[in-house]
């Protein structure tokens, strides 16, 4: 049952950026002129990653020349995403194909991963909520972790083709790009989390409990002081609503910013090293930063999964307290 949910969640993530990209059609077409300029500038100054992920296939009814994006458009980040999702599904299938009571080999590793994640999220969410929400948080952690690490494979961004009349040394249309270096992907994951979060909260504490939790009056005063307290906590509730609205934005930009900046930093360090010592300087200079990026990939996956689970736990813990009373 859990395995089916896992597959479902992976499929969901993979399908998500498609509508997100179609929805961003107006935004991209509006900004197409300045974006194009900065793209060219980027290439003149330093060979950094362009901010929006290059679109490989403009979808049904899309037009590459006008920048119009139709449904089912594909960016190079989405190619990597599909590959990573396929790899995860394949490993999960292989691991559970011959499930033995005493696991060994791949099954052992996958069980270790899932069980330690379960223990970890149980500590955050509590024994009651973790049963219902584990599939989402574990999937999002595994998916972000492996897509971050997949994006770090050396030479990933150099696979592609160059435009006519361009220098051969530089690929202008890379085929592959880190999954989370595309804002559509991180936004899609944050958006699906917020929808699920709302659903879980309503199911756990009900709509009344949900509003009551946000505009919660703590402490009981009497007379003028009581009215003053109510006014204060209503203001606190308004701030809480703003903080809830900022959450998906912060989640989106944190993951995107870290991965995108990491890829650019690796490239800048490589260029600097190559200027100091030709050919080998870049590779030596980039090594510590490369190890740092492996750590960042793990930490950001952990942060995304942890923050989403903490947000869920903050809202749903009320329910469990009532039960334990």
């Amino acid at each position: 049952m859990n395995f089916r949910r896992f597959l479902l969640a992976i499929t969901l993530f993979v399908a998500l950026p498609f509508p997100a990209l179609a929805g961003a059609e107006e935004a991209t077409s509006d900004k197409s002129a300045p974006a194009g300029e900065s793209h060219i500038d980027d290439h003149k100054k330093h060979h950094g990653l362009p901010k929006p992920a290059p679109i490989l296939y403009h979808g049904i009814g899309g037009n590459p020349e006008t920048g119009k994006v139709g449904p089912l458009a594909i960016t190079n980040s989405m190619v990597v995403m599909l590959v990573v999702a396929a790899c995860i599904i394949l490993v999960a299938q292989l691991a559970t194909r011959k499930a033995a009571l005493i696991p060994s080999g791949l099954q052992n590793f996958v069980e270790w991963l899932v069980e330690s994640l379960y223990g970890f999220f149980e500590g955050v969410l509590g024994a009651h909520m973790v049963k219902k929400t584990f599939w989402f948080f574990a999937t999002i952690f595994i998916f972000i972790l492996f897509s971050n690490w997949f994006g770090l494979i050396p030479g990933l961004g150099t696979i592609g083709w160059a435009e006519q009349g361009h220098h051969n040394e530089h690929v202008t249309n890379p085929l592959l790009r880190g999954v989370n270096a595309d804002l559509n992907m991180t936004l899609a994951m944050a958006a699906i989390f917020m929808v699920l979060w709302l659903f879980w909260c309503i199911r756990e504490i009900g709509p009344g409990g949900f509003v009551g939790h946000i505009f919660d009056v703590k402490g009981h005063g009497s007379g003028f002081f009581g009215i003053f307290l109510v006014a204060v906590f209503i203001c606190v509730g308004v701030i809480e609503v703003v903080s809830i609205c900022v959450r998906p934005v912060a989640l989106t930009f944190r993951l995107y910013g870290n991965v995108f900046a990491g890829e650019n930093m690796l490239e800048s360090v490589m260029m600097m090293g190559n200027q100091l010592v030709p050919y080998i300087g870049g590779a030596i200079a980039v090594l510590p930063f490369y190890l740092l990026e492996i750590l960042v990939g793990l930490v950001q996956a952990l942060v995304f999964a942890l923050l989403t689970s903490v947000f869920t736990a903050l809202m749903c813990e009320h329910h469990e307290e009532e039960h334990s009373h």
């Binding site: 930009f253 944190r254 910013g257 930490v299 942060v303 942890l306 923050l307």
Partner: protein
């Protein structure tokens, strides 16, 4: 000279914030090594929240 001072200031503030979180987390682990797990979890949460300011300043500022 052009630039965005608000991003620089946000980066400064969040760098100080993350540094304080890390320092206190290390200190807390030193005082009570048995609580290393929960401290690490909390430290990551607060470091991430402090870090988020930069990205908001960078992309929305």
């Amino acid at each position: 000279m052009t630039g965005s001072i608000q991003v620089g200031l946000a980066a400064l503030g969040s760098a100080v914030g993350v540094g304080l979180v890390g320092a206190k987390a290390a200190e807390a682990t030193g005082r009570n090594p048995g609580a290393a797990g929960p401290i690490r979890t909390q430290a990551i949460i607060f470091a991430a929240l402090a870090e988020g300011i930069v990205f908001i300043a960078l992309f929305l500022g």
